[in-house]
């Protein structure tokens, strides 16, 4: 009971301390620089004042992030299956996957702006490019890391290649897939905000969070900029929470990481 209280109070106390530190920094700055770090009160006021703009922006960004992430999951899984299925596809495609990962995604933004009209689609594509790699790499790793005795058992049972994937490799890869998905889910809102920032616009209203960052920073509306950043952070927590819930559903019955006896 005391332990529980402590684990609840400790982060609360740390939060209050950080808020105190924040307003301390605000008050210590010289008047001409004070706008750079607005007081917590000003940020809260900006939150309340712009709540509908922020909420709509969060929804638009969430839509772009969700679309990009979903596409990355589907195509990433299919590619991982292909990579795991044969050494030749692995040898042929892996280098180019690395190239994609090493490329700064920003360079795609101007091209996308020229080629695609819909802002949401551009954002989704940028999110997709950012989320794709961790999903492919982790899932492929999982599909290949199957216990050799289990593979022997499937061979002895004269299992087809299809059964080997459906009944052995794919279930065994689930924990790895979810590791990739957790990383991708953290990246997705960031990817969508970067997409918004570089390739978004206010088509049909206020625009996503990234677009709002462009606007508020160019107008030096610092409290609103901070409020936008905090909204983006909250969005990230929502994405990760959804993935953790899905992971629990898929793994809690059998995976050791959910074994309460351990």
């Amino acid at each position: 009971m005391r332990k529980q209280l402590l684990s609840f109070l400790a982060p609360l106390l740390a939060g209050i301390l950080l808020l105190g530190l924040w307003s301390c920094v605000h008050r210590r700055l010289s008047p001409e620089k004070q706008y750079l770090v607005p007081s917590p009160g000003d940020v809260v006021a900006a939150f309340i004042e712009n709540r509908s703009t922020l909420a709509l922006g969060a929804l638009i960004t969430a839509a772009g992030a969700a679309a990009g992430l979903t596409a990355a999951v589907v195509l990433g899984y299919v590619l991982a299956l292909g990579l795991a299925f044969s050494k030749i596809t692995r040898a042929a495609l892996y280098p180019y996957l690395m190239v994609l990962q090493m490329t700064p995604i920003i360079v795609f933004a101007p091209i996308l702006v020229l080629v695609i009209d819909a802002s949401l689609l551009r954002v989704a594509i940028i999110t997709f490019l950012i989320c794709f790699f961790p999903l492919v790499v982790n899932t492929t790793q999982g599909l290949l890391s199957v216990d050799s005795q289990l593979l022997d058992f499937f061979r002895l049972s004269r299992a087809s290649r299809r059964d080997e994937f459906l009944r052995l490799r794919m279930p065994a890869a689930q924990p790895y897939f979810f590791t990739g998905l957790r990383i991708a889910a953290t990246l997705a809102p960031i990817g969508a905000i970067v997409g918004d920032y570089t390739a978004g616009n206010a088509q049909g209203g206020v625009g996503g969070l990234g677009f709002q960052i462009v606007l508020t920073s160019s107008r030096f509306q610092m409290p609103q900029l901070y409020a936008t950043a905090i909204t983006g952070c909250a969005l990230g927590f929502v994405f990760v929470a959804v993935v953790l819930a899905l992971q629990w559903l898929a793994l809690h019955r059998w995976h050791d990481s959910y074994d309460r006896a351990r």
């Binding site: 289990l150 058992f153 002895l156 049972s157 004269r158 299992a159 052995l168 059998w254 050791d256």
Partner: protein, 257 residues
């Protein structure tokens, strides 16, 4: 009456991996239906490799090996393998783990159910059929693994040190259960172990191997009467055979050095 044709017959069986050293050299052996053959010998003598050859998991380098008259892996006889680890699928419950070999053979549901019930009954784990592997003890997992091997009603079971990780009492209990099942089902067994006591208790024949390269050093026929029970381990005849196999194991080690 002519002797029955052997279920497993090996002639001049040799094995090396790639350009590596010879693992097994010129093995000649056979097993009749119902034989319980134990392979025992120092580490690295190729016992497990020999099981993999018989299972068809690994090809011979030279020689001939036949299971019911056909090469390993092509034989019509059902062959089951029990690994050192239980090798269960952790995401399937006990019932579905036990059914899996039949599912992979596309056996119809009624046949799967019937075999599963029979196999779980044989290892006395029927009440655990809805449990997941992580909820079982080491001994229970091994019994599920055994049940899975039994679902196909195999004529040959290859067991690669299946009880090595268990405590002594669990191991003795499982030895007794294994023999009871063997008495009912009459499959042929090739059993790898490091334990002389286990080898003598289970087998009617013990093949002692020497290492570098792996080869047969001696064969001991165990004439202890069946059914064998916990009492058997107290008999002077049992103790005598254990002493003899131990002596031969020592001389096998000396032969390799």
């Amino acid at each position: 009456m002519p002797p029955p044709s052997p279920l497993v017959a090996g002639h001049a069986v040799s094995k090396r991996y790639g350009d590596g050293p010879l693992i097994l050299r010129d093995l000649a052996f056979s097993a009749q239906p119902g034989d319980f053959v134990t392979l025992i010998g120092p580490s690295g003598c190729g016992k497990s490799t020999l099981l993999r050859l018989i299972a068809g998991l690994s090809p011979l380098s030279s020689g001939q090996l036949e299971i019911a008259g056909r090469p390993p892996g092509k034989s019509a006889a059902e062959v089951a393998f029990v690994f050192q680890e239980p090798a269960l699928l952790p995401w399937l419950d006990v019932a579905r783990n036990v059914e899996l070999p039949l599912l992979l053979r596309r056996a119809p549901a009624p046949r799967r159910n019937e075999s599963r019930v029979r196999a779980l009954d044989l290892v006395r784990l029927s009440e655990k059929s809805a449990a997941y592997p992580r909820e079982l003890s080491g001994g229970q997992k091994m019994r599920v693994s055994l049940a899975r091997a039994l679902t196909l009603s195999p004529s040959l079971i290859l067991l690669d040190e299946p009880f090595g990780a268990l405590d002594e009492l669990s191991r003795q209990r499982l030895n007794e259960e294994l023999l009871a099942i063997h008495a009912r089902e009459k499959w042929t067994a090739f059993f790898v172990t490091h334990s002389v006591a286990e080898a003598v208790f289970l087998s009617n024949r013990i093949l002692i191997l020497a290492a570098n390269p792996g080869r047969f050093h001696a064969e001991v026929t165990v004439d202890l009467p069946f059914p064998r029970t916990a009492e058997t381990r107290l008999s002077t005849e049992y103790q005598r055979v254990v002493a003899e196999v131990t002596r031969l194991l020592h001389s096998a080690e000396a032969a390799a050095a």
